[in-house]
Subunit: 326 residues, 2 copies
DNA sequence: ATGAAAGCGCTAACAC
DNA sequence: GTGTTAGCGCTTTCAT
């Protein structure tokens, strides 16, 4: 690999001048030409590691998410990436696999690699940001809060849980179960809250047996749905706590010949790649891409030196109601 | 941020000793203890940028894929990640968005950031690897070949196309269309080949109107399926060139009241998050995770200095036939 | 506008 | 086993 010195020698200038050419500051026309020509000839690309070491910062941001196989997060990632690359930043995607330890490792890498900032969908409410905050790197929380006083972008989760439930009530269902995500994740708890609120508002029972905490994954949805169906008095409808739970629940229902709307189904989150007709399942669409875009903008602002007090932005959902009921 | 010098001073040793402690070479028990204690107190983490600059290599590999929203690639990413992190490497995921220019940018970043190697699912047959190869960084191709003499892991695409088609033939369909991926992508072309072969072997027509080149995405599948249905003489079955095309095609069929098996459907690739019964659609399962695992192992071997001639590994598929026909 | 030179934080010879 | 020291390739004062 050619260095700045090789280019300088070939172009007959100093290393400093080569650096200036690549950083767009005042250099005379002729020298610019000479340097560019020499660089091309040597296939020179500036060594980013050296630049980062010298500058103590790099145009890279980290996006840490708990499940790279969940389309909700990849859609968000696209939003982040579009904004970041527009601004000349690269995004490195880190999959914490919902484990606090892995997450911690990635946060340390972000510090140690001089990344400019982090967008984080926390693995749990036990996530620690001490180190990264001590390092002075800006962090924006997405999807879930963190317990720290930092910027954040979240969905209107209570609303989402409530609307999903209300749609089922309006469609005439009355024994409405809820398969929620893990109890230690904020979004899950808030959606449960919405489900409770809606039931209470309509004088329906929130039978504890109808609430299942599960994982935010397909198998979690499957297991919980099986349990619900095995109940002495099964529900006649179910609210799925996220997209993957929805997929799992519907799979099980299909296997039992209870394809919606035989049993009512409402899902918080878009159904990824569904082949179902949109008329049979109520979906509360969560603007994942928009969340990514917003978070990236906030982070870039912070990187740019913005130091106003921390803000949290709550994104509104869009409901897409089933038109068919049983 | 504390440096190695700060730690050395506090622990009463030389910077070199601190370095040794963090790199696991012979240091006396007491000094190790002193250094660890000092490091903890100062919240010291080794600066990776500096280490990378010095060592001229970093324990990071890049995984460049054309569509981060496609579960096929994220599943593969998990495989890569599992192997890599086991070996102490981090993976940075780069989304080329199927654009050769973006891909080129990421490859340059990989060079400039001293990453140890790259796993690449090429955006197109025009992908250039000149620079990265000149930089001496190992590259392993996945999913698609590259036209360069490098290691690769690919699926048995012809087989996949052929098996998918034959399943439909055996189920009694005779006018079998194929919605393929882009014509400039190897995997797409090979699957077309398999489709042709199967039809020929059974004396069925490969009507040119029944072959549609499209994008490897849901909307590509949708458009092509609409076109096929609008034909004066529409097909009675269709082979989808990948998972997302399959989703799009089935969506359109459902909207037209032609849910499989009213029209036969076979998909090359697993249907992500499907809520359909497995009995109605034939699926050729592609071992995406395994592909990632294999590629990561090959890359790590190369990084470790392995210099045997380039190998290409072809992964076998598993067919999961529909049990219901019309 | 340009060059000389210092130094970012770490590692790896090389001495002892 | 441990310390000294010279860079890795770049940016950035400070002179000129």
């Amino acid at each position: 690999m050619a260095t700045i010195y090789d280019v300088a020698r070939l172009a007959g200038v100093s290393p400093a001048t080569v650096s200036r050419v690549f950083n767009g500051v005042g250099v005379s026309e002729e020298k610019v030409a000479a340097v560019r020509q020499a660089a091309a000839q040597l296939k020179f690309f500036p060594n980013r590691t050296a630049r980062t070491l010298r500058r103590q910062s790099s145009e890279v941001i980290a996006l840490v998410i708990p499940d790279i196989e969940n389309p909700y997060f990849t859609e968000m990632a696209r939003g982040v990436e579009d904004v970041a690359s527009e601004a000349g930043f690269s995004v490195v995607l880190c999959n914490s696999d919902a484990q606090v330890e892995k997450e911690q490792t990635y946060l340390r890498i972000a510090i140690a690699e001089h990344m400019s900032g982090v967008i984080l969908a926390a693995a749990s409410d036990r996530t620690s940001l001490e180190e990264i905050m001590a390092a002075g790197r800006p962090v924006v929380a997405v999807d879930r809060g963190t317990g720290y006083d930092i910027d954040g972008v979240v969905m209107a989760n209570r609303d989402a849980g409530r609307s999903a439930t209300e749609q089922l009530i309006e469609a005439g269902y009355s024994r409405i179960a809820h398969i929620a995500g893990p109890e230690h994740i904020e979004t899950a708890v808030e959606r449960v809250d919405g489900w409770r609120t809606a039931l209470a508002a309509h004088g329906l029972p929130a039978d504890p047996g109808l609430l299942r905490f599960s994982s935010f994954r397909v198998d979690g949805g499957r297991e919980a749905m099986e349990e619900l169906l095995a109940l002495p008095e099964p529900p006649d409808a179910v609210v799925a706590g996220n997209n993957l739970i929805g997929v799992g629940a519907i799979q099980v229902l299909t296997e039992h010949g209870l394809t919606p709307p035989a049993m009512g189904v409402a899902v918080v989150g878009s159904l990824p790649f569904t082949t179902l007709s949109p008329s049979v399942v109520t979906v509360v669409r969560l603007p994942a891409r928009h969340m990514g875009v917003t978070a990236a903008r906030m982070l870039l602002d912070r990187i740019g030196g913005d130091d106003q007090p921390a803000r949290t932005i709550v994104l509104r959902n869009e409901i897409q109601a089933a038109t068919v009921s049983r």
